[in-house]
């Protein structure tokens, strides 16, 4: 599990606007290991989806990757989009209809995807498509059905079958279960976990749901205002968070617990800064109850491979 499949090195994504250049992602680095599920969590606008888009080379202009590098299997890919991305990296979106053409039978869409990625005959591709459906829990006999004849959860399964068809080594799943009921969500997440185990596929799972992170991911990166606030083994980060923002997120998550009644939830006051009003120093300092003078001036980078917070400075050995 220790081999790095993907390395994101100091990337920034900027947008030129009338109000100047805005940084949606600011000097972000992280690695995805082979066969792991890496969660990316944070509030909307924190840069989760943008990170996924950067890896796939799908940043819409006027946005662009303005600095940094992305390496995949030891090859730099941020300069050469077409070659690897698409063949080796698949994407799953929140809305299945982004990936599915409503006017075409699911089988045709699967076969087409398979044929663009593999040098095999049509008959072999149909065979693979049926196997693919079976693998995600859909009756292969429904290969000729149209997307609208499936429920939301079943449609997302079809999307997963499509994403898996080129046998990617990495899947980026952006809020894949947010629109689904909890029971269906649990099935889809189990399916992703199982695929990961059986095929050694790596997954970047983008979500704002701390419960989904806890139950599905091996490691988690917490994003705040386009920066990585904390990263580590999921259990470690959620049970022993180091960054005050992560602490706040964990503490404000409501739990199904009989003793919660009438208790006030922990709340982080204020809100995430807008891109055109980023504070100096640590982006979290206006909301941080531990902020030091230094936090208002100097931006902390990730300390002790764990959190971008000055509180960890000089404590590397304690971790």
């Amino acid at each position: 599990m220790s081999e790095n499949l993907l390395q994101i090195k100091n990337i920034s994504v900027t947008f030129k606007t009338r109000h100047g250049v805005l940084k949606a992602i600011d000097d972000l680095s992280l690695n995805v290991k082979k066969g792991e599920i890496l969660g990316l969590v944070g509030e909307s606008g924190a840069g989760k989806s943008m990170t996924g888009a950067a890896v796939l080379g799908l940043i819409d202009p006027p946005g662009r990757l303005s600095s940094g590098q992305i390496w995949y299997k030891g090859q730099r890919i941020d300069q050469a989009p077409e070659t690897i991305r698409g063949h080796e990296i698949s994407m799953i979106f929140q809305d299945p209809l982004v990936s599915l053409n409503p006017l075409r039978r699911i089988g045709d869409q699967l076969v087409e995807t398979i044929l663009t990625h593999m040098p095999i005959t049509k008959a072999e591709a149909v065979d693979r498509a049926r196997k693919g459906l079976e693998e995600v829990g859909i009756d292969p006999e429904r290969i000729n059905a149209y997307p609208h004849t499936f429920s939301g959860g079943m449609r997302q399964r079809v999307v997963i079958a499509l994403a898996l068809a080129p046998e990617p080594a990495l899947i980026i799943a952006d809020e894949p279960t947010t629109a689904l009921d909890v029971s269906v969500q649990a099935q889809i997440l189990d399916l992703l976990k199982q695929l990961c185990r059986e095929r050694g596929t790596s997954i970047i799972l983008v979500t704002h749901d701390m419960g989904v992170i806890a139950e599905t991911t091996d490691r988690v990166g917490v994003l705040y205002a386009g920066r990585l606030a904390e990263i580590g083994e999921t259990r470690d980060v959620l049970t022993n968070p180091k960054h005050p923002y992560t602490k706040g997120l964990v503490a404000s998550t409501p739990r199904i617990d009989a003793s919660s009644f009438d208790k006030t939830l922990y709340q982080i006051s204020g809100s995430m800064p807008k891109l055109d009003a980023m504070p100096n120093g640590c982006a979290f300092h206006p909301r941080c109850e531990f902020a030091l003078d230094k936090c208002r001036i100097d931006r902390p980078s990730i300390i002790a491979d764990r959190a971008a917070c000055w509180l960890l400075d000089g404590e590397e050995t304690l971790l």
């Binding site: 909307s44 909890v182 701390m210 989904v212 409501p254 199904i256 009644f261 809100s271």
Partner: protein, 271 residues
Amino acid sequence: MSFVVAKGLTRNYDLSEPLIVRALTMRPKRILTAVDNVNFSIEKGTTYALVGESGSGKSTIAKMAVGLLKPSAGTLIMDGKNLNDPALARNEQLALRRRIQMVFQSPYASLNPRWRVGDIIAEPIKAFGLIDGTKAQFMRVSELLEQVGLASSDANKYPHEFSGGQRQRISIARALSSQPEVIVCDEPTSALDVSVQAQVLNLLKALQKEYALTYLFITHDLAVVSTMANKIGVLNKGKLVEEQSPTGLFSRPQQDYTKMLLNSAPSINFG
């Protein structure tokens, strides 16, 4: 009698094809019973949570409670008065409507983007003729904004200038402006991130304490209501299948459906 009572509440939707098509194809009418003989009661100043998956009928009940939809059968009673009594005069109906307000799921869709926040909040005050005079209305709007944790100067801004959580505060101020006794909250925090969700839930609770508000709180997320529901009703395919206190429901769920909901809710607890 409890402050709010739902008695045999039922709502059908007619999903049939047009009459002419049915006549030609001989296909029968198709009626969906979205809410099926639902009974519950809420004590004054408490929160009743309705929990269920999509399509279980939650929003249909919410809309009936605030008069946006008419029940097909059954009724809602508030403070001893039948909200669906056809004999009610227009002004009596209006007087009842003032007392039940709603906060919607999407703080994006529910606020008119072309209105200033102050006008959005003042609208119910004007509609129900609660306060006369622009100056006095303005004062009331300022007071409401401050109650929900915003600044009185925010009255001059437009909804798009606010974050999701702040917009939901505006929705709450608007709901409060007619001085209601009951607020129906339909997934008020589903579109928000956890840190912001906690702010909004805490605010709703503080307001409940202050004004003895009665909440009908609709959600698909059992954890969200764990801090505030006095009672939880579980809705499955339009039917209320179980009702318990959170303590009871979380520790001794009776129905398989409830157990399934509890088991599949993703949890941050490592156990």
